[in-house]
């Protein structure tokens, strides 16, 4: 029964089938030319930076003799007679001619002439030069990241890469981040990409982080433990030809993260980064002050004796109370603070003999901008690669990262119950006056919200992740390599929290403690054979054959306690809680087995062909539905290598790419194909009795979701590659979508995982890099990227739509997935102004008609009103003047029926932008460098559910504070607004277009100014480089959106444009330096 043991056995089953197959192809040897005695010339090809150029071509001018530099940049060449000149070339570097003049040693330094072409790009189980790519891959390297001093790598991707959409849940440090590559692929099965970190495949699973059970559902980024300074490069595989090698896990795109390796230069480099920054909220929302609030409560009339006073002694309450007699609070001033960020990291890269070593240590500390919200990260890493002999290289790496977040859960816009700190800042009453019936909120007397957060609540949530990796790379022949890589990924997370009986979160349970622990263990083992062969310098072949196993083990444990008589020790002694809730535990295991192959062929650097095939089997599905095959094929034509293009001098690179293929997605919770029973508890004469009941129903046919993807791309380099353009158009077609479908509850179940429906994404991506000016003193580089994606639900397996419900709060039934519409479609009523006085007939108590224009706020209650015939009514609700009105669109017979009922709901919002863009400029002048970067989205909408809470109404919590804007402009008989409803609006809980706002924005995300110190003193001190910088994050934003920030991550992937107010975005100004020893 020991499954983790089983998990390790059987690995051989697939792995070593490969070895057996390893056959005659290994015995190819390169033949030497035995010519006459010739002069031998040697040398080393390096780049300006000193790095060796590997694979540079060295030819003798006028002869067909040549060589290629090795991994250290060294070459040797037998010179024919009369050889006079060497031509050294490498794509992306300027070719150089060197005269031989009888030298025996010629070292050549090549200068860069191109932008991205020489770049080596990680593709699955190997790497490729960008110039040789047939698929669509976007990359970002460490240099561009380290300049900015950003603490979370995923945030750095935002807006920078075409087709990669990054949204963050909130401004909270460590908050969860959502990355979508080329649109939402899937409805319920995860739509986040697969991460491959040094070979370890990681599916992002936010539930790896133990999160608070109170105050709301804030999720954290499980990959926040990774120190961005450790990353050498991030490569994002987008099309099927690139991702098919990851088969069943590749459908959402793949992000390959490669960490830094020891230096190749044979010297030791120590790098120290230190930065300090201050942060502050970018936005405030004007809320009512204490007096306005009391006026509002008085006008509501719910608790007249509390909020009103009898001023003239006639026994009738006739005026609101004076706020100055009570405590008054401005929660934004009290709860939002200036935050700070401290970041230190030090790394060392070196080579000792044949061993390359890279190591680092990092520490980050952030004081969040919300009171008591702090965040820390510790990280460490070591990596070595050792060349045992000319055939064998081995290496290993280990990294550990740990984050600790503390402070009351912020409920950053999740599906929380609106009781997080963030919502509290805006909804808590600005005074300590409250009525008897509101006293349930303050069972032990009034406690200020700030005190609750600082003194009465404790939360500490930690996450530690260790990623380890080891490999053996054996060169069987010069063409054939065998590689065996094993990686492990272990995470552990622990949450401890305590809320006293004086807090919003602990008052009901008389003190609440919660401890939960989550650990995961996963491994990936892969064996690959890599074959590379060049024939006649014309044909270049490579083939890859591999097998892989991986497993993911998840364990969770939690315990909660309530009813603490002594609350001083809090969560640290939960035995004091008189009520220990039943502890919970959960264990799941998902295993996968795969085999894959890739073949690629290049002819004359002109024609490219790549084919992939992967087969995957997943334990998430039952036998018969378990295996999926994922093929892809792609080709490219480098036109500028054709003779007829030689004359077109300004085109330095022109390549067409095309690919098609299929990839899969199996990312659903484990065991969903099986039926299950869960325990429940009933009672008998006061005793507890345990029962068992069906929890999920079986679906034996559950299988992969597959995505067919087609991509056409163009790479264009102009003017010696000073202008580089990469463009792609794509079409993605997802079949057999894995949907946790709501099913009719009459079945006894409310949801089931099913393969239903079809979804398409089509889009265009464009990125442009230009080196506008390049002189020795001044350089200017611009980047621009643009993408648009159109998402369309083609079918839902017979259903016309799926309802999307986001639990808690007043607006829950907010969206639908509708055939023919994109995912993220809001669904509800169309707001149509307010009911006005003239919509009613008015009578006094004697029954005499009254002219509505004579009625005022003061005397309105003396009259009786009835809605005039012909004015639209609201089904089941008797409306009053000032209530919101909606458009009568339809009725049971398809025609407007004069009343607002469920037939009148329609599409009211689209969460998807029309396009995304990002653009930046990098300048350097002498020792200065300046960077700035904009990102933006256009044309998307957000349903701002927060508005519902702070604009009064007859429903919802009537003790919430209001926005000043609403209060000043609200409907009254004297101010017949058609926008803002009256304070007793009885129709505010209708999901309607009233809450929908344009969420387009343009943000100046980052400005960085750096100065590189160049001085003789540095040389004397053996300091290789010293740069200091000033960086401003989130400089400004241009948007019409009225919420905190239009960049939100909703609780539901099916309705991304839904906001219940997120953690305020912060602007940070930081200074730092970078020292290289």
């Amino acid at each position: 029964m020991n499954k983790s043991f089983l998990l390790k056995s059987k690995t051989l089953c697939v792995l070593f089938l490969l070895l057996i197959s390893f056959n005659q192809s290994a015995f190819m040897q390169t033949k030497n030319n035995n010519g006459q005695d010739q002069q031998i010339i040697r040398g080393k090809i390096t780049e300006k930076s000193g790095d060796p150029v590997i694979g540079a071509s060295i030819r003798v001018k006028g002869f067909s003799v040549g060589s290629v530099s090795d991994v250290n940049g060294n070459y040797q060449l037998k010179l024919p007679e009369n050889a006079k000149t060497l031509i050294v070339s490498y794509i992306g570097l300027k070719s150089k001619e060197v005269s031989i003049e009888g030298k025996k040693q010629i070292d050549v330094v090549l200068e860069s002439n191109a932008v991205e072409l020489t770049e080596v790009v990680a593709i699955g189980y190997g790497e490729s030069k960008r110039k040789d790519l047939t698929g669509s891959v976007s990359s970002i390297n460490s240099e561009s990241m380290s300049k900015l001093g950003i603490s979370d790598f995923s945030e750095n991707l935002q807006g920078r890469l075409a087709g990669v959409k990054v949204t963050s849940q909130s401004g909270e440090a460590g908050g969860s981040v959502d990355i979508k590559i080329r649109g939402a692929n899937s409805i319920y099965a995860g739509s986040s990409p697969l991460y491959v970190i040094d070979g370890m495949q990681i599916d992002v699973n936010p539930s790896e982080v133990a999160t608070s059970s109170m105050g709301g559902n804030t999720t954290y980024n499980p990959l926040a433990t990774i120190n961005p300074s450790d990353i050498a490069s991030i490569d994002i595989l987008k099309d099927a030809s690139s991702t098919a090698i990851y088969g069943a896990r590749g459908a959402n795109g793949v992000i390959i993260i490669t960490t830094k390796s020891g230096s190749k230069k044979g010297k030791t480099e120590i790098n120290l980064n230190v930065s300090y920054g201050v942060t502050g909220a970018t936005k405030r929302i004007n809320m009512l002050n204490a007096q306005d609030y009391i006026d509002y409560k008085y006008l509501r009339g719910d608790a007249l004796t509390t909020y009103g006073i009898d001023t003239n002694g006639d026994g009738k309450i006739d005026a609101p109370r004076d706020a100055s007699q009570y405590q008054q609070y401005n929660w934004q001033n009290l709860m939002l603070r200036q935050g700070s960020t401290n970041n230190y990291d030090v790394s060392m890269n070196t080579t000792i003999g044949k061993t390359r070593i890279s190591s680092s240590l990092g520490y980050l500390f952030q004081n969040g901008i919300v009171l008591n919200n702090d965040y820390q990260r510790y990280s460490g890493r070591i990596k070595f690669d050792h060349e045992v002999n000319s055939k064998l290289t081995v290496g290993a790496s280990a990294s550990i990262g740990s984050t600790v977040s503390s402070g009351v859960v912020s409920s950053g816009g999740g599906d929380g119950s609106f009781t997080g700190v963030i919502q509290g800042i805006y909804t808590q009453r600005p005074t300590n006056l409250y009525s008897a019936s509101e006293a349930v909120d303050y069972p032990n007397g009034y406690v200020s919200f700030a005190t609750m957060v600082t003194d009465q609540a404790y939360r500490n949530s930690s996450l530690t992740r260790i990623i380890g990796n080891a490999y053996i790379d054996y060169k069987i022949t010069s063409d054939l390599r065998f590689n065996l890589t094993s990686s492990i990924n272990t995470s552990g997370s622990k949450l401890q929290e305590f809320y006293t009986s004086s807090t919003l979160w602990g008052r009901i349970s008389n003190g609440a403690a919660n401890i939960s622990e989550i650990s995961t263990n996963s491994f990936t083992s892969s064996a690959t054979l890599n074959y590379n062969k060049k024939i006649n310098n014309k044909h270049s072949l490579s083939a890859l054959l591999g097998a892989e196993m991986n497993g993911y083990h998840y364990e969770g444990f939690g315990i909660k306690a309530q009813n603490f008589q002594d609350q001083t020790t809090g969560v640290f002694d939960i035995s004091k809680g008189a009520n220990i809730l039943p502890p919970t535990s959960l264990v799941t295991q998902v295993n996968r087995m795969s085999a894959f192959g890739r073949f690629s062929y290049i002819y004359m650097d002109k024609y490219y062909l790549t084919a992939n095939l992967r087969a995957d089997a997943s334990s998430n599905f039952q036998i018969g539905s378990r295996v999926g095959y994922f093929p892809s094929v792609s080709g490219a034509w480098r036109i500028n290598s054709e003779p007829f293009m030689k004359s077109v001098g300004f085109i330095s690179n022109l390549k067409f790419r095309a690919s098609l293929g299929s990839t899969g997605n199996d990312r659903i919770p484990a065991y969903q194909a099986l039926a299950s029973l869960t325990p429940n508890y009933y009672s008998a004469n006061g005793a507890t009795i345990m029962g068992m009941s069906p929890n999920t129903s079986e679906n034996k046919n559950l299988k992969w979701e597959s995505t067919y993807q087609y991509d056409l791309g163009l790479d264009l380099g102009l003017f010696d590659n000073r202008v580089n353009i990469v463009g792609d158009v794509y079409y993605k077609d997802t079949h057999d979508m894995l949907i946790q479908a709501q099913i009719p509850a009459q079945s006894g179940f409310t949801t089931q995982w099913q393969n239903i429906g079809r979804l398409s994404n089509k889009g265009v991506e464009l990125s442009l890099v230009t080196r506008n000016i390049e002189t020795s003193k001044f350089s200017w580089k611009s980047t621009f990227n643009f993408d648009l994606n159109r998402n369309d639900v083609i079918s839902l397996g017979g259903a016309q739509f799926l309802p999307v419900t986001i639990p808690n709060g007043a607006l829950t039934d907010v969206a639908r997935v509708i055939v023919g519409q994109p995912i993220g479609t809001g669904f509800g009523y169309v707001f149509n102004g307010n009911y006005q006085m003239t919509d009613f007939t008015w009578k006094d108590k004697t029954g005499a008609a009254v002219d509505p224009s004579t009625i005022t706020s003061a005397n309105m209650s003396q009259y009786i009103y009835t809605l005039k015939p012909g004015i639209v009514t609201i089904n089941s609700i008797a409306v009053s003047p000032g209530d919101r009105k909606y458009k009568d669109i339809s009725g049971p017979n398809g025609i407007p029926d004069g009343t607002i009922n469920s037939y009148d709901r329609t599409v009211i919002s689209n969460s998807n932008p029309k396009f995304n863009l990002g653009f930046g400029n990098e300048f350097s002048y002498r020792n200065f460098d300046l960077n700035f970067f904009f990102e933006g989205v256009y044309g998307n909408q957000i349903m701002n559910a927060f508005t519902n809470m702070v604009e009064a109404g007859a429903k919802g919590s009537t003790s919430y504070n209001l926005t000043q804007n609403y209060w000043n402009n609200r409907w009254t008989p004297e101010n017949p607004s058609n926008t803002y409803a009256g304070i007793l609006n009885s129709t505010n809980d209708f999901v309607s277009s009233y809450y929908v706002e344009d969420a387009s924005y343009l943000r100046l995300k980052n400005v960085t100014l750096g100065y590189r110190v160049k001085s003789k003193l540095l040389g004397a001190l053996k300091i290789q480089g010293f740069r200091y910088y000033l960086s401003i994050e989130n400089v400004f934003i241009i948007t019409k959106y009225s919420g905190m920030d239009p960049d939100i991550k909703s609780a539901s992937p099916l309705f991304s444009g839904f906001d219940r107010l997120s953690y305020p975005r912060s602007r940070s100004i930081s200074m730092g330096f970078n020292l290289i020893l």
Partner: protein, 551 residues
């Protein structure tokens, strides 16, 4: 050539490895943390656990997939649904639950969906059990007992759904048709009657657990159902809506036959069951947290909660307990009694001041009943007081003194679903419609006898004061006085077609909150609301469902 060999090899390998390896233990992962039906439903103990699950749905807080549903069950939501739209209570809050006390419910009201989903989950649990027990190797007597209780619960859930929504889809198998349309009431009640009958015929005097239904419970529900159907037919309930929704017709009912059957079965329960009316001294024990053994003497069925700390505890903030803070185990005071209900009692009827009270406030004294302490709420102040006006029928122990919960929000108060007093009043009704009015009036007297405060009045005065020449009206008034806040009033008014008049004739009186709430209720009530709307989500998911009239 090499290239071809590699290609072939790749193909070969993929084939070999996947044909041979897909059925490995590595990939045949069996869940660690949950039980699958294949391994369950085998032993007697399995079925007993499954049976507990069949009961649990009646007051569950969460069902399949973790859906949080207390707002749709006897955990709290059904109190609003079944007491609301009546002359007993009105809403003191803007919560969604209160829509049922204001008559502002619409198809998208999510509590409707919770009610529907939770009770269908209960039905499904019963069906799983019933499908599996047929072939199980357990003794016949146990099989019959478990089957009887399970069929009782299936009927219980269907009866609630049918009385609230009208005709509903029938699901009698563990592999049901998810898209089945609504069945007409005749079919739904045929199933319910057959299930109750089976339970009544086959069960013993006591069930598997003390909270189980037994023969008498089944008989009581069966007789009550006969009365319900008879009255719905006699009073043409929903007749004006049948044209729009023929499913909800009662035309098929033979009222007299139903009444006759009701007399038979209810007489059996009243005469032969061990249940009795608690005497006046113990009347309040029916509604206290710490007197479960007394509750069992009169209650044939309860929604039960546990004294020990576990998942099976109730939250009481929305119960019919006096309003008050944590300290006193008070409620939020969501339900306000009407002044009209208060006035329906004569002075000297102890039920008035028991059912309608003031708040728990500073200075509240405690009383000890059966070794358990309770705070005593203030006495109600009718008409004017905003605060001293609560539904106070149920009483929780002083926090921390009785159950292990110790919190005001979690308690173990068992909520009566079927008391012998109710059964007797049902028998009185059946007697009346089978032309035995004297026997019926005897029962009314019997019910009144235990609530006479001898210091203030006599049974004769009560009988005289409560007398109405319209026996049905008097019976309904008595049921209201006896069973208020026990989730009976909505259905009682509907089945005699009196809801509209009860609401529209309700005087707008009492404190200003109550007046406002009554006005709201009157403004929003319309006759079609005797049927709850089918939840919008369910209509969306199953296009074969039709909506009730007027929504």
């Amino acid at each position: 050539m090499k290239r071809y060999s590699i290609k072939y090899l790749a193909g070969l390998l993929l084939t070999i490895s996947f044909v041979s390896c897909q059925d490995t233990p590595f990939l045949n992962q069996v869940p660690y943390s949950f039980t699958s039906p294949q391994n369950f439903y085998k032993t007697e103990s399995d079925f007993k656990m499954a049976l507990v699950g069949c009961y649990e749905a009646l007051n569950t807080s969460s069902i399949t997939g973790g859906l949080w549903v207390p707002d749709g069950t006897y955990a709290r939501g059904l109190y609003y649904i079944l007491e609301g739209c009546s002359d007993n209570v009105c809403a003191n809050n803007s919560a969604i639950s209160c829509d049922f006390e204001k008559a502002t419910y619409v198809p998208s009201n999510q509590n409707l969906g919770y009610f529907w989903s939770a009770f269908y989950a209960g039905i499904s649990r019963c069906n799983y059990l019933l499908d599996n027990i047929k072939t199980a190797g357990i003794s016949d007597s146990v099989k019959t007992q478990i089957t009887g209780e399970t069929r009782f619960m299936r009927a219980f859930y269907y009866q609630h759904l049918a009385q609230c929504f009208g005709g509903v889809p029938l699901n009698t198998s563990s592999t049901p048709d998810n898209k089945a349309p609504r069945a007409p009431l005749s079919d739904v009640y045929a199933l319910i009657i057959s299930d109750y009958n089976y339970a009544y015929k086959n069960l013993n005097s006591s069930g598997i657990n003390t909270s189980s239904a037994n023969k008498w419970t089944a008989g009581a529900y069966l007789g009550t159902l006969y009365n319900y159907l008879a009255s719905c037919k006699r009073y043409n309930v929903g007749a004006s809506l049948v044209a729009q929704c023929p499913l909800n017709s009662f035309d098929w009912v033979n009222a007299d036959s139903m009444s006759t059957k009701a007399v038979t079965v209810l007489s059996d329960v009243v005469n032969n069951s061990p249940y009795k009316l608690l005497p006046q001294a113990q009347y309040s024990y029916l509604f206290r947290e710490g007197t479960k053994s007394y509750q069992y003497q009169e209650c044939l069925f309860l929604s039960e909660w546990s004294d020990v700390f576990s998942d099976a505890y109730s939250t009481n903030t929305e119960l019919f307990t006096p309003q008050g803070s944590n300290t006193y185990a008070g409620s939020y005071g969501r339900h306000m009694p009407t002044y009209n209900l208060y006035k329906s009692y004569l002075v000297g009827d102890i039920r008035r001041d028991w059912n309608i009270t003031g708040r728990y406030e500073t200075g509240c004294v405690t009383e000890v009943v059966q070794n358990v302490s309770y705070y005593v709420p203030k006495v109600s102040v009718p008409v004017t007081s905003l605060l001293q006006w609560c539904t106070g029928k149920f009483r929780l122990a002083v926090p921390g003194t009785y159950s292990a919960h110790g919190l005001n929000v979690s308690n173990s108060l068992n909520y009566p679903l079927m008391r012998l007093a109710d059964v007797k009043l049902q028998l009185a009704e059946a007697f009346y419609f089978t032309h035995e009015e004297p026997s019926a009036r005897t029962i009314l007297t019997e019910i009144r006898q235990r609530v006479v405060d001898p210091a203030k009045t006599t049974i004769d005065d009560l009988n005289l004061g409560y007398h109405n020449t319209d026996f049905v009206q008097e019976l309904l008034d008595e049921r209201r006085r006896e069973l208020c806040f026990e989730s009976k009033r909505r259905i009682d008014l509907i089945r005699f077609d009196k809801t509209t008049s009860a609401i529209q004739n309700l005087p707008v009186e009492g404190n200003t909150y109550v007046q406002g709430a009554i006005t709201t209720l009157q403004a929003n009530w319309s006759y079609n609301k005797i049927w709850l709307p089918i939840p919008q989500t369910q209509l969306d998911l199953n296009s074969n469902l039709v909506q009730n009239a007027g929504y």
